[in-house]
């Protein structure tokens, strides 16, 4: 008995009851389609979050002066700690000897200001920083140029503005370059306009003005502490090393005791340190793991529907075996070996589920072509192999019981069955 014969008999058996076969196939189709589509949605969500975070730059670290640390240290009786970051702290981080993995350090001082140009005005976040900020924060200019280190040293009143701000003040964003705008009354010359960025939060990240650190201190924020320090690591893989290095430097400078600084986890840092380091990589891995959980959850729901489809296969195969008891008896009487009967019914079950699986892949692909609730599904190739593999296994597993029942029938009893 050849495999081709078994398949031929199985196909014949299935085509004898087309509607029933089609409905059983539909059950598997929905299951496989759901697995592929829902995993694709989960994956799409995860990809979207990753893209958002990567836009911020994965190899950057942001150092804040810590709010939590102050209270914690006061409670523990350490009163002499300095509570805010200074420009000297930022310069210390740029020390190549102590922090070899730090590529650039950009101190930031920010404030909200009103920007006006010839009667039109708009509010914007004004950030004073170093030229390295543009690269570290992944903010290239679209028109014009960046300000330079010389502008910082000489405290030139120049600014690079965001697209929203430029469009608010000028007829087109490109017109802004070379014009003079007034920021809280101080004239700044616009040297460049930033490329538009996707918004990641409630505030418009394109409604900004970036100016030299010194000039913003001169005119807007005064010579106090530095709001935050943006640190760019040499590469994404050295971000953690850079994190450790700057933490060590700042611990030393800000007089954090060895015991409280030894804790490397974010939690201990929050509770005892006067500063806090936000690592984009950590943020990325946290959100990746949460979206992974989300994907697993979706996949599990879809797997249940695949299971239901599989039970449908068993159900129909049991009906088929009962209905064709007499046929089984006849086949056995003319000399069909047990294996041939087993093979035939198993092949029928596998064909049902495999056919459903193939159609389910098609359904999954078609479904993934649409944007679902703002998420563009991204098909995970392994989910296709998994779904098809599982659907064939379902055929084998859920079909083996009915097939075995058919094959084990005594010919004489099967023939007597009416």
């Amino acid at each position: 008995m050849k495999a081709a014969e078994v398949m031929r008999f199985a196909l014949h058996g299935l085509s004898a009851n087309k509607l029933r076969s089609a409905l059983t196939t539909l059950g598997v189709l929905i299951g496989v389609g759901a697995v592929i589509l829902l995993v694709a949605v989960g994956n799409g969500t995860s990809k979207q979050i990753q893209a958002n975070i990567e836009r911020l730059g994965t190899n950057t670290l942001t150092v804040f002066s810590g709010g939590f640390g102050r209270f914690a240290s006061r409670a523990s009786g350490t009163q002499s700690q300095s509570t805010s970051l200074t420009l000297q702290d930022a310069e210390a981080l740029a020390d190549k000897a102590q922090a070899p993995d730090v590529y650039s350090v950009s101190p930031e001082t920010s404030t909200s200001a009103t920007v006006t140009y010839q009667g039109s005005s708009a509010s914007a976040t004004v950030t004073g920083t170093y030229p390295s900020y543009f690269k570290a924060s992944n903010s290239p200019v679209q028109y014009g140029t960046y300000f330079t280190a010389t502008d910082v040293n000489k405290a030139h009143d120049v600014a690079v503005i965001g697209t929203t701000l430029a469009e608010d003040l000028f007829t087109s964003a490109g017109d802004a370059v070379g014009q003079s705008v007034s920021i809280n009354g101080t004239p700044f010359q616009v040297v460049g306009v930033l490329k538009s960025k996707g918004s990641t939060g409630p505030s418009d990240v394109n409604s900004v003005a970036v100016a030299p650190f010194t000039s913003v201190q001169d005119t807007l924020t005064g010579y106090g502490s530095v709001g935050e320090i943006l640190v760019q690591a040499v590469s994404p893989s050295t971000t953690s090393a850079a994190d450790t290095e700057i933490t060590a430097i700042l611990d030393k400078r800000l007089g954090v005791s060895a015991s409280s600084a030894s804790g490397s986890s974010a939690a201990s840092r929050f509770s005892s340190s006067p500063f806090e380091v936000l690592n984009q990589t950590q943020l990325l891995s946290a959100s990746t793991s949460s979206s992974h959980t989300f994907t697993v959850l979706l996949g599990a729901v879809a797997a249940i529907s695949l299971l239901v489809g599989g039970i449908g296969v068993t159900n129909i195969m049991l009906v088929t075996v009962t209905e064709r008891t007499r046929e089984i008896g006849i086949r056995k009487a003319v000399g069909a070996p047990k294996g041939a009967i087993l093979g035939q019914f198993l092949a029928e079950a596998v064909m049902l589920s495999a056919f459903g699986g193939v159609l389910g892949i098609a359904a999954g692909f078609i479904g993934s072509a649409f944007t679902i609730d703002g998420v563009k599904p991204v098909i995970v190739p392994s989910s296709i192999f998994l779904a098809v593999g599982v659907s064939v296994l379902i055929g084998l597993f859920f079909g083996s019981y009915p097939a075995n029942r058919a094959a084990s029938m005594r010919p004489i009893e099967a023939l007597r069955y009416e």
Binding site: I330, K332, V334, G335, K338, I412, L415
Partner: protein
């Protein structure tokens, strides 16, 4: 047992039954279908098994056809003790040695006459073209080549039974078993079918046929009467070497 004794010397026994018992059920509900049957059928014989309903003739036929196993006793088919065979070997024996014809035809619906006849060959692993050839030859023997692609539902009872006969013959079995083959047929179809059986026997096939009609039994060379699970009469009508008594064309002799 005079008939078997007379033909014993030099003749090859196809069927040998020794004290075959068959009990259905157990305990209080046990039914004794066969109570110790001894039977010997030589190659080329044409045996009619007669008996009232409940006499055990179908049980006997199922045991002879390897569809059922005796509760006690031995059964040798072509010298092989069937009791020692496992399920797959029994399937092989059914496929190789026995052709079965049932009262209710037992064709598979939704399969053409040709496909039904081809089926035993498919299980024997014979290739497509060769299989078709042999199936068509078998259909020719029952004069149904023109109905090869008809479904069983499109054929009369007599035609369906002839397809069943073709299916039984397609593997060239040494033994043809027929369980009341004419039970559902009209007179004309019965005559056609018995003519086929007569011709088969003339060509050397061993035939064992169950019937309860005496005019059907008249076609056989030997008549075995069953009652309550025992053989009560075993009567030879025609010698083993002779052609069947009612062969349609008397000019042909083996």
């Amino acid at each position: 047992m005079q008939a078997t004794e007379r033909a014993a010397a030099g003749q090859k026994a196809v069927i040998v039954l020794h004290g075959v018992h068959k009990v259905y059920g157990a305990g209080d509900v046990a039914v004794q279908a066969l109570r110790g049957v001894d039977l010997k059928v030589e190659a080329g014989d044409y045996v009619a098994v007669l008996g009232a309903s409940g006499s055990g003739k179908t049980t006997l036929m199922n045991i002879v056809g390897c569809l059922d196993v005796p509760t006690a006793g031995r059964y040798l088919l072509d010298g092989i003790d069937v009791g020692f065979l496992d399920e797959s070997q029994l399937a092989l024996v059914r496929r190789r040695k026995i052709g079965f014809v049932f009262q209710s035809y037992n064709l598979i619906p939704r399969m053409s006459a040709l496909a039904n006849v081809e089926m035993p060959l498919a299980y024997a692993g014979i290739r497509g073209s060769r299989r078709r050839e042999r199936a068509m030859a078998a259909l020719e023997m029952v004069a149904l080549t023109d109905r090869a692609h008809h479904m069983p539902s499109q054929m009369s009872g007599g035609q369906q039974q002839r397809v069943a006969v073709a299916r039984a013959l397609v593997t060239s079995p040494s033994l043809v078993l027929a369980d009341e083959p004419t039970g559902n047929l009209d007179t004309a179809s019965t005559a056609d079918l018995l003519a086929i059986f007569d011709a088969l026997n003339r060509d050397g096939r061993t035939i064992v046929m169950i019937t309860h009609e005496h005019d059907v039994a008249d076609h056989a060379k030997r008549r075995v009467q069953l009652r309550d699970g025992l053989i009560i009469e075993d009567h030879r009508l025609v010698d083993l070497g002779e052609p069947p008594p009612l062969l349609a064309s008397p000019s042909v002799a083996s």
